[in-house]
């Protein structure tokens, strides 16, 4: 039915090194909860086709806006560069046929539709895998596709609440806190990308794809598993918010310097010894050298408050930078408490050339990991909704021009 034609990635400049996933074809039918997964693939050079509703993905409207004030907002720009966009109204039979055609030639489908949505439209995994047995289909939903709460309405906030993350984030005297951003979706997207790659590995070895059922709540709960069931069933303690320090690491937390806060965490016995020696040198404190404080963090658990006083006595006479540099020289895990804006002046990020410039001239986060032989390709063009309708449907699926215009006129695309 469809001609096989090179994708944009394959036909691009032949000389440049290709991403590790060049040649992998991904269809993304995803709202804000699934675009991070597709981004990870696009940044590795996969051909990611984003299927949007006719008015465009509602995530294009998510704040904050860029300084230019235009849609899409920064969330969409961060998560969708390098993808191609087609607009299809899946209520229309002609559009469903085109969607099936796109999936038939894909390696991976990432989708965030509610349970039953694709099945009812003849596009479920059972139907799709008949035409394409090696297809991996990854469903990302807030609670998973099965279970009594599968159809509960959700947002990133409610997923963070259910996952256990919020109960242990922030300060005991405050309401439960949230991490910045939409980490319910980055956790789900990261797990979904990992699981999809594992299934693709298996599919390439066996010829058989499979269906993946990702629950965002489970994903973030597993990311938060340090405070999860294993520890709880061992010691019976229900972890909760306890400020900037971690409950099992002593000392840990923020300490006041002349010009701001530093963060410190001690886990290794050798790190404690180095810290105690530095405190003693700086403040003359002899008590801090008491051997009863030595060993694993558990030995210092009963002395957290006292040790915090000792440390603050020392840091109070230094700047953040002094504590950071001298602390690291002594192999103690001190770090500055940076604001996001502070990262603009960070010398480590600058030396490694971390930030990339988007087509809008703004600075975007760079690669989360660096491959030695294959480039990371993030920060590229952010597609307009339906920007690649012609290129994909006419050029690659082989739809004839007359039918294309008719489907446009009918509102299918």
């Amino acid at each position: 039915m469809f001609r096989g034609v090179a994708t944009a990635a394959e036909s691009g400049s032949g000389k440049a090194a290709q991403g590790a996933l060049a040649g992998t074809r991904v269809i993304e039918l995803a709202d804000e909860s699934g675009c991070y997964c597709g981004k990870l693939f696009a940044d590795m050079g996969a051909d990611v086709v984003k299927v949007e509703p006719l008015g465009g993905d509602p995530a294009r409207g998510i704040n904050p806006r860029a300084p230019d004030g235009n849609e899409p907002g920064l969330f969409f720009r961060c998560n969708n560069s390098g993808k191609r966009s087609v607009t299809l109204d899946l209520e229309h039979a002609g559009a469903r046929e085109l969607f099936a055609g796109l999936v038939a030639r894909a390696d991976l489908l990432i989708e965030t539709t509610p349970a039953g949505y694709l099945d009812q439209r003849g596009l479920g995994y059972g139907q799709q895998s008949q035409a394409n047995p090696a297809l991996v289909a990854c469903s990302i939903t807030p609670h998973g596709r099965s279970g009594p709460r599968a159809r509960w309405k959700a947002s990133a906030l409610t997923v963070e609440a259910m996952s256990g993350s919020m109960h242990v984030t922030g300060y005991a005297e405050d309401p439960p806190g949230r991490l910045a951003g939409r980490q319910a979706w980055t956790a789900a997207g990261s797990w979904a990308a990992v699981s999809s790659m594992i299934a693709l590995w298996h599919a390439r070895n066996t010829g058989r794809g499979q269906w993946i059922d990702i629950s965002a709540t489970e994903c973030l709960a597993s990311v938060a598993h340090i405070t999860g069931v294993g520890k709880y069933l061992d010691d019976g303690i229900v972890p909760r918010r306890s400020g900037p320090g971690l409950f099992a690491s002593v000392p840990s937390g923020t300490y006041r310097c002349t010009d701001g806060l530093v963060y410190l965490m001690v886990n290794r016995p050798s790190h404690w010894k180095a810290l105690a020696a530095w405190i003693n040198e700086t403040t003359g404190n002899k008590e801090v050298l008491d051997p009863m404080f030595e060993g694993a963090s558990s030995a210092r658990l009963p002395h957290r408050e006292l040790l915090d006083i000792f440390i603050n006595e020392m840091t109070a006479s230094f700047t953040v930078d002094q504590v950071y540099r001298e602390g690291q020289r002594r192999r103690i895990a001190f770090s500055p408490v940076n604001t996001l804006a502070d990262l603009a002046g960070d010398e480590q990020l600058a030396a490694r050339g971390y930030f990339v410039e988007g087509e809008d001239g703004l600075r975007y986060p760079g690669a989360p990991f660096r491959h030695s032989a294959t480039p990371w390709q993030g920060g590229g063009h952010v597609p307009a909704a339906g920007e690649h309708n012609r290129e994909l449907l006419l050029g690659e699926l082989g739809l004839d021009a007359e039918r294309f215009e008719r489907l446009v006129a009918e509102g299918a695309l």
Binding site: A20, M44, P64, L74, C78, S139, G147, P148, A150, A154, S155, L157, T158, A161, V168, G170, D174, P176, L179, A180, W191, A193, S195, I198, A199, W201, H202, I212, D213, E218, A221, S222, V223, I226, G228, V229, G230, Y232, L233, D234, P239, S249, Y263, A296, S298, L301, I332, F334, S335, N338, T339, L340, D342, Q348, R352, P365, P368, F369, H371, A373
Partner: protein, 432 residues
């Protein structure tokens, strides 16, 4: 010996797993490194972890908080289970030439090496990318470090919470008046592990096509900063982030957490569209809100957020978050209890019904319960191998079966000090 049981389970627990046949070698400690191999092992990969008695994993120092003697339980830490179930453990002294030789032999037969030491440590041991790739050009190697392998701060020491602070995530999280908001689960550690695993699988796909391995340099700082995404772009563009109390840009109104009856009980609520607003008004019995034309749209509600939030709090204060969630969900409103671990384990029919709590076989404890790995693989489900291995637990299997050394060879290497034997009955206290 228990070693037979643990080898059987560690090596073959999930022989039908999606990664069966892949060989992984680890030089790791704590979480950000070990979690990569833990997930691969549950998918059927053979994962060998190299340890040294002289530099014990901090996780092996775990003791129960209520133990006045703080006796370490090196194989029984629940986190050690979470990060290491299903692996094979061999103990080598990598400061000895013959220890390094053995490690290189293991790398020569591996598909993947994972390490999370401070930058430079592996190179100094003679186990850096240059050395290992010379022994095995098809190798994929992941180095996960706090700051990355290059740059003036490469080699700095850090833990997950340091990275939260360094990356700006801690300052940007939580309530506006707080300078540093921390989660209790070291968010960067599991997140960078997932990214590292994705990077490894991508490199394996590239190898499948080209026959060539490659090196992956993961900076936990860079990876975590990227998770701030649009907020980081916004901050660098010199703009202020939205003014809502949690510093989240308003996408829904009302949205937030509301105090419920009971100690530290809260409801999370997001009214995402006008239909949900109508549902909320009905459940709360607020017909005046429903009839108020000024509140039909989110921007109108945003202007009167205080009034609305007070009304919601009045209602939630008389209810448990579970009761409130059920009522609101029945009306199609996105509401959920802020759950703690006890709620999740004892009272969440969704997590339990989907098998989120996995019973894991444990060498000394029989079985333990752990969070399952939520891969959701329909045909090749993940399954955890045995947990609780001691240092050197699988020396004989790894050196004998995998490297083909004789018992006499191994005994000689033990005398040399390159191989560190199991501690026998003393295992536990000596591992500190």
């Amino acid at each position: 010996m228990s070693a037979d049981v643990s080898v059987k389970n560690a090596a073959t627990k999930n022989a039908a797993g999606a990664l069966a046949g892949l060989r992984v070698l680890e030089f790791t400690s704590a979480m950000a490194g070990p979690w990569v191999g833990r997930i691969m092992a549950a998918c059927g990969a053979e994962v060998v972890r190299v340890e040294s008695r002289d530099f014990p994993d901090v996780v092996r120092g775990y003791s129960r908080p209520d133990d006045p003697e703080h006796v370490p339980r090196p194989g029984e830490s629940p986190w050690f289970t979470d990060w290491n179930a299903g692996k094979l453990f061999v103990a080598l002294d990598l400061r000895r030439p013959r220890g390094v030789e053995l490690a290189v032999k293991l790398a020569a037969r591996a598909d993947v090496v994972v390490e999370n030491h401070a930058a430079g440590v592996m190179d100094r041991l003679g186990l850096g990318w240059q050395q290992l790739s010379a022994a095995n050009p098809r190798l994929v190697m992941l180095s996960s470090s706090g700051y990355g392998a290059t740059g003036p701060a490469a080699g700095y020491v850090s833990w997950g919470p340091n990275i939260m602070a360094l990356s700006g995530m801690a300052a940007a999280s939580g309530f506006a008046e707080r300078e540093c908001t921390m989660d209790q689960y070291a968010f960067p550690d599991p997140m960078t592990a997932l990214h590292g695993l994705f990077a490894v699988m991508s490199a394996l796909e590239h190898r499948r096509q080209t026959g060539r391995g490659q090196y992956v340099d993961l900076s936990q700082f860079e990876c975590t900063a990227g998770l701030a995404g649009e907020l980081l772009v916004d901050a660098l563009a010199g703009l202020s982030v939205g003014a809502t109390p949690s510093r989240q840009p308003a996408s829904a109104c009302p949205e937030g957490v509301y105090r419920c009856s009971g100690e530290d009980r809260w409801l999370a609520l997001s009214v995402q569209d006008d239909g949900q607003w109508a549902g909320l008004c009905r459940v709360l019995g607020r017909s005046a809100w429903l009839a108020d034309a000024g509140l039909v749209r989110a921007d109108g509600r945003l202007e009167r957020a205080n009034e609305i939030n007070e009304g919601i709090s009045d209602w939630t204060a008389e209810r448990s978050p579970f009761e409130a969630s059920e009522q609101l969900q029945a009306a199609g409103v996105a509401a959920a209890p802020v759950q703690n671990v006890d709620d999740q384990y004892h009272h969440d029919p969704q997590l339990r019904g989907r098998g989120f709590f996995e019973l894991v076989e444990h060498l000394t404890l029989g079985t333990v319960t752990a969070c399952a790995l939520p891969l959701g693989l329909g045909d090749t489900p993940a399954a955890s191998g045995v947990a609780g291995a001691a240092v050197a637990e699988h020396n004989d299997y790894v050196l004998g079966e995998l490297l083909g050394l004789s018992a006499a060879d191994i005994a000689e290497l033990e005398r040399d000090g390159a191989v560190q034997p199991p501690a026998g009955n003393e295992k536990g206290s000596n591992d500190q």
